[in-house]
Amino acid sequence: MSSVKDEIEKANKEAVERMMDSEPVWVDVGIAREKLPEMKDYLLLHAGPPITWEKASGPMRGAILGAILYEEWADTPEEAEKLVTSGQVVLEPTHIHNAVGPMAGIISPRMPVYEVYDKKYGNKTYSNFNEGIGKVLRYGAYSKEVIDRLRWIESTVAPILQATIREIVKDRGGISLKSIIAQALQMGDDCHNRYNAATSLLLKEVTPYMIDSGFDKQTIREVYSFLAGNNFTTLNLGMAAAKAMTLAAHKIKYSTIVTVMSRNGTETGIWVSGLGNRWFTAAAPIPKGVWFPGFSESDANPDLGDSSITETAGFGGFAMAAAPAIVSWVGGTVQTAIEITNKMYEITYAKHRYFQIPYLNFQGTPTGVDIRKVLKTGIVPTINTGIAHKEAGIGQIGAGIVSFPFEVFKKAFEAFIQEYEI
């Protein structure tokens, strides 16, 4: 009979191997209602652990209101709020739908979504489209300009990308996101807050097919400009890829590897592979940031978004040593970026087989947070992040660095002790 020690070791090895071997491929674009199996009218998905309207932060509330207006379930923000407080509009975490969204992470039924297929393990994951930076829904802005942009994405960007990716799928099965991430990490991206290289690599692959998509030249040009003009275009695809990787590692009995790290603007929450879909939560911290002109820490909302799925999968903030230029966006020094990566090795199970950091002699990125190592060392995962204004409707006010609260790992550890006979 093998010991618990052996069981945990075996489970963690399997979880992290699966995380690294997962092969996420972008295969389609569609409407959330049609793509997500459990999606239905009057259901809104949001980032992070479960949240109620009463506990939701300003930017989360703003994004919820904006999504209701976008769906045309209400004509005014006041009517929209009544729909949520009366329970007619239901809120559920993206993660239970195998989906992810940056910041507020709202996915509504008519929103277009990317579909990512894990060729190795057969899972499908989803993410919404990226709207750019500044006043955008995911940061809680819901003005007419924001809703109009979402509708333009739905009516113009999504159909072109759908036609494009379907041709690519016919031609060569889709676009390997793992390959793009691996290359981008060697070109100065971390693939969380810096996607400059990844976006160029993606556009290099999709542009010929966009040109051949049959849409008029002017529209294609507009869509191209929108995609190329936003370095976060690839963030949502990268997140869906990371979700596929971590999903492959999820629900492995005895595993102490973290498979979800996320925040809803009020609370931070994690999942642990061997503990299934149970959330372990604590209050979300406020990031240390670089502020847009006119804003400061006192304006900031506590941390928000599913984008820390990138760190969960072994890149993003964990690979900051690969992206020295990122410090101009999130703050700190190049040395800080290197130190963060080096520290993360102390709480992770493996060095990634495919994601490497040139500056660290092509060492694999720290991959697979082990809750036991967090408890043993007291070191908590550090990520980089965008920062939303605490009030609804204002949007992004900076970017920065933040650490997950120790408390969530402690709660998960105690649950693990209860769950398994040690």
């Binding site: 010991s3 618990v4 020690k5 945990i8 070791e9 102490t256 082990d370 036991r372 190592k373 408890l375 043993k376 060392t377 007291g378 402690k410 550890f413 105690e414 693990f416 002790i417 006979e421 040690i422």
Partner: protein, 318 residues
């Protein structure tokens, strides 16, 4: 003198030692953030880790961010003044240092169901943290540890008081294992500290290892830690752990285990294992619960690939 810092705290024992104005004072060990000083027959620790103890002077973590070893050497003289100490090139001002005078921990008076639950939770916690290591855990893989359990802990848990009285028995663990404070010493520190905290109603004699045994079997610093612990002087982390048992505070107990676990490679875990071994064996003496057998099962069984049936025939794996 090149550097001066102000101490933030000073321990009670430290004050006593410094007031005596010992003539023989020198640096015994130097690390980046910690100094071990011999002052007469006592030990004074200087650290910037914010870990207080009765014999520690702490200085702020962010002050003088230069490793001690870059300007202090082993053997450097320690000069003790009225409001300062000078260690090599460093002067530490003591005038504004806050005193660290922890209250004496109340003796453990009863071991009820809550204590048993705390013990089990604590054991599971440290085992899971030990399990992180894929290689052999220093203490658990050692045959002398197995021998100690066999000759001391197990018989004691079954009622044999002589087992813990024979100070010779402790020699097998003293100095055992690697590390600045060897694993065997850490384990003993926990084990002895727990036993010595029991109320007289348990009728368990205090365990005091003589200086001769301590200093001839392990290094000076580790021997000093054991000597102080035998007299109820612990650093803040160990204090919290023992205090939480005495107060039967489950939350504080878990927090202190996790805090202590961060110490060294397995140093904090080894101390906790010692405490929990004492905990188990005394509960067994009082309630005949067979916790000691289970503990041995979990520890040795996991790491030596043996089950307790092979060590103690008739024992069942939990």
């Amino acid at each position: 003198m090149r550097y001066r810092v102000e101490a933030s705290t000073i321990g009670r024992k430290c004050e006593e030692v410094l007031e005596r104005g010992e003539r023989y004072s020198r640096v015994r060990h130097v690390f980046a953030n910690t100094l071990y000083l011999q002052v007469g027959r006592d030990m004074v620790i200087v650290n910037r880790k914010n870990n207080r103890s009765p014999n520690t002077i702490t200085i702020p973590q962010d002050s003088l961010n230069i490793p001690f070893y870059s300007y202090i050497r082993i053997g450097d003289n320690v000069e003790i003044g009225r409001q300062y100490i000078r260690v090599g090139e460093l002067e530490i001002g003591l005038e504004n240092a806050e005193g660290y005078f922890p209250e004496k921990i109340d003796r453990i008076r009863e071991l009820d169901e809550l204590c048993e639950r705390m013990y089990l939770k604590g054991l599971k916690t440290i085992l899971l943290l030990y399990y992180i290591s894929t290689e052999n855990i220093p203490i658990l893989g050692l045959s002398r540890f197995k021998e100690f359990l066999n000759k001391v802990v197990y018989p004691f848990s079954k009622g044999d008081l002589e087992a813990i009285k024979k100070t010779e028995n402790y020699k097998m663990l003293l100095g055992l294992g690697q590390g600045f404070t060897p694993s065997g010493d850490d384990y003993l520190l926990g084990f002895i500290s727990f036993l010595n905290l029991l109320d007289d109603r348990f009728q368990i004699p205090r365990v005091i290892l003589e200086d001769e045994i301590l200093f001839s079997n392990t290094n000076w610093v580790s021997a000093m830690f054991l000597k102080y612990a035998q007299n109820g002087l612990y650093d803040e982390d160990v204090y919290q752990l023992l205090s939480s048992i005495s107060l039967k505070n489950e939350t504080s107990f878990m927090d202190s285990i996790l805090h202590l676990a961060r110490r060294g490679h397995t140093s904090g875990l080894d101390i906790t294992l010692g405490v929990l071994t004492g905990f188990a064996s005394v509960i067994d003496r009082v309630k005949s619960r067979n916790l000691t057998e289970r503990l041995i099962n979990c520890t040795l069984g996991s790491f030596l690939g043996e089950h307790v049936e092979n060590i103690y025939p008739g024992c069942q794996r939990s």
